[in-house]
Symmetry: C2
Subunit: 146 residues, 2 copies
DNA sequence: TTATAACTCTATTAGTTCAATAGGGATTAA
DNA sequence: TTAATCCCTATTGAACTAATAGAGTTATAA
């Protein structure tokens, strides 16, 4: 399971991607997404440090998207906050670590099984950009109205 | 990521499935799979309680597979030890819990994205039975020799 | 220039989970 | 009756999670 921090980050980003040019106050995002304000504060700061968000201090300031919604995908967000996407470390790429149980990865079918799952998951997470998520949301909401 | 407990369980089961009729000592599995003996003890007990393994006490005793290798899949093992397979609780089936951030699941694309990932993951985990894993292992080992 | 709005940063807390171990108890075979 | 083996409860220390506290910094605008 994702940490709450990661889930909060995703929801905050999607919220901001609905108005990609807008500048947002921590307080407003916090209320719109039901995220504890102080906790969100730390999250947005992390996202700023990693270059996804920009910010302006002082009165009239706020956070804004620095990257284009099409260029931010969930795989990166998950990795930033929760590390490896794979279910076992020996099947991870960016956070790879060998495991003691399967001595020979080449013939370890447990490794193999989880590698397949990792690959499929990463592929799907990469396809989920802020842009695609917001677009789909618009569609779903329109369909529901009808 | 899976807990070590879960990963240990999977490796122990695969080990036993290589000789589905055999009776195994905790000590032997522990050494074969590099799993701390006392920890493994608790794991095997859990697997016995859930009906996957059987055991015989006393001298000459040991653990053995109660279910057929083809009938034990990784989805069940993961659920037994780590709970939900989904990355967010609102996308889980057996461990479903609503989340505060997406108020309307029907139109929440975050929910939608993680539901797709969950479905694909479950499908793959279900296809990974002890039997299929051992069969594949045999193939991989034969191919490597050549 | 000063009040205020807003982000920045470090530290701390309580609670939980994880991984592993300890130390017997119960059961069976020889 | 003894040794082998599984059974069971409890405990530990470390790490992580979620959330909060509180003071610091920066920018705006009256």
């Amino acid at each position: 399971m994702l940490s709450k921090k990661c889930k909060y980050a995703i929801h905050a980003l999607v919220h901001m991607a609905r108005d990609p040019e807008e500048k947002f106050l921590i307080k407003d995002i916090s209320e719109a997404c039901n995220i504890p304000k102080k906790f969100l504060e730390a999250i947005l700061l992390d996202l700023k440090r990693s270059g996804v968000l920009g910010s302006k201090q002082g009165k009239g300031g706020g956070y804004f998207l620095r990257m284009k919604p099409a260029d931010v995908n969930l795989a990166e967000v998950v990795r930033q906050f929760d590390g490896a996407i794979a279910l076992v470390s020996c099947a991870a790429h960016k956070f790879y670590e060998p495991c003691a149980e399967c001595e020979d990865e080449e013939t370890c079918t447990v490794h193999d099984a989880f590698l397949q799952i990792r690959n499929a998951t990463v592929e799907m997470l990469k396809a989920d950009t802020l842009e695609s998520l917001v677009k789909k949301e618009t569609k779903l909401k329109a369909r529901k109205k009808r």
